[in-house]
């Protein structure tokens, strides 16, 4: 922009501003997350004090617990589905679509994948492949419904995905009964038919065991981690190294300009929704592999938390990973606080909401300060250029 304003003879803008803005930029980028963490620590300390617990002891327990290898592995296990969920939400965000429906999509995908996985018997890789493909297809289809409603009827995707979440939960409640595994309930338990060993992803416990030490059966590193890593890489490459990714970012950033540039907005929106849903379908895989079936206690809330994590990570593949690990750390901490009775573990759940709100508020404040800075700088340069 400055090239346009500045005439060739004009003096360069004062260096001070440039240097200052560089340092300031780094400061600004860190301000929101760091500020949020500081605020959260203050808030949790206050809550712990109100609850009559010793905050120092609680933080000590959390730190000690998190430094154990077993805890770190369980943190990665917990972070894996959260990360996938975060990426699913982030794809929507990049297109300026709010896919609140990850919640319904992953659960719908999970029950279908578990049912199909339990009904068929195939050799290892094929069996796992079928389960994964079914999950992605069902997730994509469920999100695609919202996508079609958006592109062909102009129905706001937030509303339609909220409604589809409700529908999904009802349908699942019905399917769980319809697809109850055959045999005596006391023996087989409530849930779909168990998936044969060939359909279960092998764990990665050998990895920490060769690097660190023998786990002695105290924990397993989930094999779904590989899927999560692949999802992260594909997301990064797709977004930053392909034409499609460019078009997606362009449409999300400025729909009108993208459209004028010949990018079909409807097709982009529908593709983004299908992709987001397809990834969302993978969120439940970790739980299916862990339990070998879908049952009524299937883990919920991963979708909503994924949205939060995508926001924490600013839709960046690495940022989302940090967010997912932070969430997993909080979950692991809540377990240890429960076990040692140092503090009520519910405080940790509240912290999630506090962190999320403070981070988004922080980002908002930073972006306001930034745009004000930019305006000041532009004015200064303009003044310098004209002088």
């Amino acid at each position: 922009m400055t090239d346009l304003i500045q005439s060739p003879q004009a003096a360069p803008p004062p260096d001070v501003i440039v240097v200052d803005s560089g340092r300031r930029r780094i400061l600004m980028a860190l301000a929101a997350p760091v500020g949020a963490v500081v605020f959260s620590i203050v808030a949790s300390t206050i809550m712990l004090l109100i609850a009559g617990s010793d905050p120092i002891a609680a933080y000590g327990d959390m730190a000690k617990h998190a430094s154990k290898l077993e805890t770190q592995i369980s943190m990665i296990n917990r972070a894996t589905p959260l990360y996938i969920s975060g990426v699913a939400a982030a794809i929507g965000f990049k297109m300026n679509l709010f896919n609140i429906g990850v919640e319904g999509q992953y659960r719908m995908a999970a029950i279908f994948a578990a049912y199909v996985g339990g009904a068929i018997a195939l050799p290892g890789v094929l069996h796992i492949g079928v389960i994964i493909i079914v999950a992605m297809l069902v997730g994509a289809a469920w999100a695609g419904l919202a996508g079609v409603l958006y592109t062909h009827r102009g129905i706001n995707e937030v509303i339609s995905t909220i409604m589809l979440n409700g529908v999904a939960l009802g349908i699942i409640a019905w399917l769980v009964r319809e697809w109850q595994a055959e045999g005596d309930i006391a023996q087989v338990g409530i849930g779909t038919e168990r998936i044969d060993a060939s359909g279960v992803l092998p764990n990665l416990s050998w990895l920490p065991e060769t690097i660190f030490r023998d786990l002695k059966g105290t924990g397993e590193l989930t094999g779904v981690l590989v899927i999560a890593i692949v999802v992260g890489i594909v997301y990064h490459v797709l977004l930053n190294r392909t034409v499609f990714g460019f078009e997606l970012r362009a449409s999300g950033g400025n729909a009108l300009a993208a459209r004028a540039g010949g990018i079909p907005p409807r097709r982009m929106a529908l593709t983004a929704m299908l992709l987001s849903g397809g990834i969302a379908g993978l969120v439940g895989i970790a739980e299916i592999m862990d339990k070998g079936r879908y049952n009524p206690n299937f883990v919920g809330g991963l979708g909503f938390n994924g949205i939060g994590i995508a926001l924490l990570g600013r839709n960046h593949p690495a940022g989302i990973a940090v967010g997912a690990l932070l969430w997993a750390f909080l979950e692991a901490s809540s377990d240890i606080l429960q076990a040692t009775q140092t503090a009520p573990k519910e405080i940790i759940d509240i912290l999630r909401g506090v962190i999320l709100l403070t981070v988004v508020i922080g980002y908002e404040v930073v972006s306001r300060v930034r745009s004000r800075d930019e305006a000041t700088r532009a004015a200064a340069r303009l003044a310098g250029g004209l002088a």
Partner: protein
């Protein structure tokens, strides 16, 4: 249909209600099922629709001021907890007040984030949805777990705020004097159609829970406030054209704050009602059952108008009450498929007249499937009742979205001096 749109609003509502009851009577006559227009069904519909309606009215206030509030469900949860706490310690009416306060507190957070800081309204809503259940779980652990009969997920049972029966219409007491029961008199006559109608009317006017009466009394009040008062006009300006309001010297932020806090208060009332003996008997974790989202649905189906929200809530409360009244075999619910099929076929026919073939095929297809389902099955599970509101919203949005109009700037961040 121009004669219809020329009528006065109350008359149109009456016609609509009569058509609804007639349709239900018709379905009863076809299927030989008597449950749809019983007085008990009418009363239960009114009761179960109330929290949905309150959440919807809450959404209405916020969205009229330009703030989308998808955290309604979280605010209901807060309202339910504080409502139960207040009711246990200070009696049912204090419970109502505390419930309103609890919901309003949640809304205040939403207002601070969205109005003062301009955070995306959906994001802030999601944060509240995540945080609210955690907050109540924590509070339950600290408070209810120490009460007798309470735990970290439930509170002890609550006392009712009492019942109310309209005098004269249904023979309620008036200053200690028992008035004549006019509708009951008609009921006993067993006259065709008339007795059906009076039975429904008596269900709607006799033995209502006090909270139900208060909730429905709020509808005309809110309608008046929104459409006829200076406050309402200013709230609507916030949602339609805040910069125009700014030039008039209106403090947009203040009105947005007020509207959002009222919104949470209404959702909190809905939550407090859910803990009442007439509905849930006590605070129970997870018992809002997405009712906040159903309230949001009522708001959309009701086209962001108070009376419309009420109609939408009744529409969703009806199958809910139906499903709860018949435990086990959901036979009456099953007949709803027939009704839905007919309605969708009518939609298809009206689209065919307009030569809108895509909609005709879609509506006809879904309607036909619904009828096919009805004739090939004898019952339907309670799960269907649960998803009905969401399906109805999706259908309404699909076929009637041109007729819906949400406030122009709902969902957009507003900053003073920026236009």
């Amino acid at each position: 249909m121009s004669w219809y749109s020329n009528l006065r609003t109350p008359i149109r509502w009456m016609i609509l209600a009569s058509v609804g009851i007639l349709a239900l009577s018709f379905v009863e006559w076809v299927t030989g099922n008597e449950g749809l227009t019983s007085g008990g069904q009418a009363e239960a519909t009114l009761r179960w629709a109330a929290p949905i309606m309150l959440a919807g009215l809450g959404g209405l206030f916020a969205e009229r001021a330009g703030i989308v509030n998808i955290g309604l469900d979280g605010m209901m949860i807060l309202g339910m907890w504080f409502g139960a706490w207040g009711a246990i310690n200070y009696g049912p009416w204090a419970g109502l007040a505390f419930g309103v306060l609890g919901g309003a507190l949640g809304a205040l957070v939403h207002a601070i984030a969205t109005v003062s800081f301009g955070v995306d309204q959906i994001i802030s809503g999601v944060a509240i949805l995540i945080a609210a259940p955690a907050v109540t779980r924590y509070l339950s652990l600290e408070v209810f777990a120490d009460y007798e009969g309470g735990s970290i997920t439930t509170s002890p049972a609550l006392d009712s705020a009492g019942k109310f029966t309209f005098p004269f219409l249904s023979g309620g007491d008036l200053f200690g004097w028992t008035s004549p029961d006019i509708l009951g008199w008609f009921n006993e006559r067993n006259w065709f159609a008339i007795s059906d109608l009076t039975e429904v009317a008596r269900g709607l006017t006799a033995n209502l829970s006090m909270f139900t009466v208060v909730a429905y009394a709020l509808v005309p009040v809110i309608s008046f406030v929104i459409w006829r008062t200076r406050f309402g006009l200013r709230v609507r300006i916030c949602g339609e054209h805040p910069t125009a309001g700014e030039t008039q010297g209106i403090n947009i932020y203040a009105y947005k704050y007020a509207a959002v806090v009222i919104s949470g208060g209404l959702a909190g009332f809905g939550g407090a009602f859910l803990a009442q003996p007439e509905l849930g008997t006590h605070y129970q974790e997870g018992s809002t059952n997405s009712m906040g989202f159903i309230g949001l649905s009522a708001l959309i189906v009701g086209n962001w108008r108070p009376a419309g929200v009420m109609a939408g809530a009744l529409l969703f409360g009806f199958p809910k009450a139906l499903g709860l009244r018949e435990v086990g075999e959901a036979n009456t619910t099953h007949t709803l498929l027939l009704l839905a099929g007919f309605v969708l076929l009518a939609v298809a026919a009206s689209n065919a007249r307009k030569q809108n073939w895509a909609d005709t095929m879609l509506a006809g297809g879904i309607g036909g499937a619904s009828l096919l389902w009805y004739f090939t099955s004898d019952s339907i599970g309670d799960w269907f009742v649960g998803i009905l509101p969401f399906i109805i919203v999706l259908l309404v949005l699909t076929f009637f979205s041109q007729r819906l109009r949400m406030p122009a700037t709902a969902g957009q961040a507003y900053r003073k001096g920026e236009s």
